[in-house]
């Protein structure tokens, strides 16, 4: 009989590394999602044209916003998936309890956020390069490129992804508690967006209009932590039958 102490952290770590390998196909899916987003971006994100008979001006602006939006949706989808039954079932052969499973899932999501944040910003750079070579350069106006902007962009993208992953995970846990939540949650979200426009706007402003980077970091991290903690709390007492 093994007398070794069973340590929650070390087990969670082992599970984390296991999941990095076992769920590597999810990371591959991100690359596909980002390539699709890149294709969409090629058509220009924002079109504006005007003319007065003599002269017509048409402006297309290119940026990687679509890539970031797609990546956010991707991490949210992954987060919902991770807590679902097929993924729970893959934990069964391992040493596990609900807590270690949740911790390793969160670890996996954070890794996904890092990877997604970095790649989506880098895809933005790729988009720049493509436009640079594809179009007549005399007709293209480039914003100046700063490395510090890129790094800041990566950092903020990671934080947003973290926020969305925490939200997705929470929704996933609710959906596991009761199947009816699968219908109720999107309905509630849509309802809130339409009826309580002010509320949803203030939520949006709470994050998006924050000018202080430190405050933004704190807001995101605290919100994500609260969401993840609720998820852990709710899923901890639940039975998982195969």
């Amino acid at each position: 009989m093994s007398s070794k102490e069973v340590n929650l952290l070390s087990i969670s770590c082992k599970q984390y590394f296991y999941k990095l390998k076992a769920y590597s196909f999810l990371v591959h899916s991100l690359i596909i999602v980002q390539l699709i987003a890149l294709l969409f971006s090629m058509g220009g994100v924002f079109n504006m044209s005007s003319g007065n008979g003599e002269l017509s001006v048409s402006v297309k602006s290119y940026n990687s916003n679509i890539v970031i939006v797609f990546s956010l949706l991707w991490i949210m989808f992954i987060a919902v998936q991770l807590i679902s039954r097929p993924y729970k079932k893959m934990e069964f052969p391992l040493v596990t309890n609900r807590l270690s499973g949740n911790l390793s899932n969160i670890g996996f999501l954070v890794t996904g956020c890092l990877f997604g944040g970095i790649t989506s910003s880098l895809v933005g750079v790729l988009l720049r390069l493509i436009t640079y070579f594809m179009f007549d350069r005399s007709q293209v106006v480039f914003n100046r490129f700063f490395l510090s902007d890129l790094l800041l962009g990566i950092f903020v993208a990671i934080l947003y992804m973290l926020l969305f992953s925490a939200l997705g995970y929470f929704i996933g846990v609710l959906a596991q508690l009761n199947v009816s939540f699968v219908i109720i949650i999107p309905a509630v979200i849509l309802g809130v967006l339409r009826v309580y426009n002010d509320f949803s706007q203030s939520v949006f402003k709470f994050f998006a209009f924050e000018v202080s980077l430190i405050m933004f970091v704190l807001k995101v991290i605290i919100t994500s932590t609260i969401l993840f903690s609720f998820s852990i709390f709710l899923s901890n007492r639940k039975e998982v039958s195969k």
Partner: protein, 300 residues
Amino acid sequence: MSTIQARDVTKSYGKIKAIDHLSFDIEENKITGLIGRNGAGKTTLLKMIAGYIRPTSGELMVHSRNPFNSLEVSAKTIFIDDNMTFSNSLTLKDILTEVSHFYTDWNSDLASGLFDYFSLNPKQPHSNLSKGTKSTFNNILGLASRCPLTIFDEPTTGMDSAVRKDFYKALLKDYIEYPRTIILSSHLLNELEEILEDILLINQGTKRLHLPAIELREFAVGIRGNTQVVLNLVEGKEILYREEFSKGSLYVVLKKELLRDQFEQVKQSNLEVVPVSTDDLCVYLTAKTNGGIEDVFKRS
């Protein structure tokens, strides 16, 4: 010392009781067979022991702890059944390597030895395996983990008989080398009876028998002969099974100890005493009526 202690354990799903006031102890380092028909509650019981689900009432202790959601119990327990799934990103060899990190007593020589013996393809993903091969692979995980409590739920599903025999042999050999508590569930007793030390027979969520496997062979006795003589002999005793062979001839099965004082009477009364095979006995003990399927065709 007991690895598992169950006291009045009940698990209900709505009004249906999958497990109904079950009490038993499973001692350390014994191989126990959990025998019961389909739907007897074997899997529900094993899932409670493994900590996946919680008893509705009663007390269940595994390694002296409540197994539900317990990391300590999980570290000492492995539950093998044909529902196990692995990611398609992992090949069979990957799975062996990855799972090995979790179990402190893992024996990789045994794992790779069995893997090669059963000629599994190391590059294949788990989901592509046929039913029998999947069982074989899962069982290799179970054996190699060398968990202090190893649970096999219907381990030989889909395996052909040669592989079954090899599996039981491998299990016994490794058990001799490294004794641990093993539970094997099955609806059939015959092919695994000889490697078992104890048998726990359950029916409709309740315990029918829990005794050493060697005592099961001598648990019951069958008596065949003239209906009237047989009825006289067994009057007032619990009959496990009865079957009318032809007019005036009756076959009954009852506990051997009920006849202890009447062996002389049996000898003189020209009755045939036949041993009851353990498989038949299990069927009789888990039947709803004591006339078996014959009853259905005898209504006229």
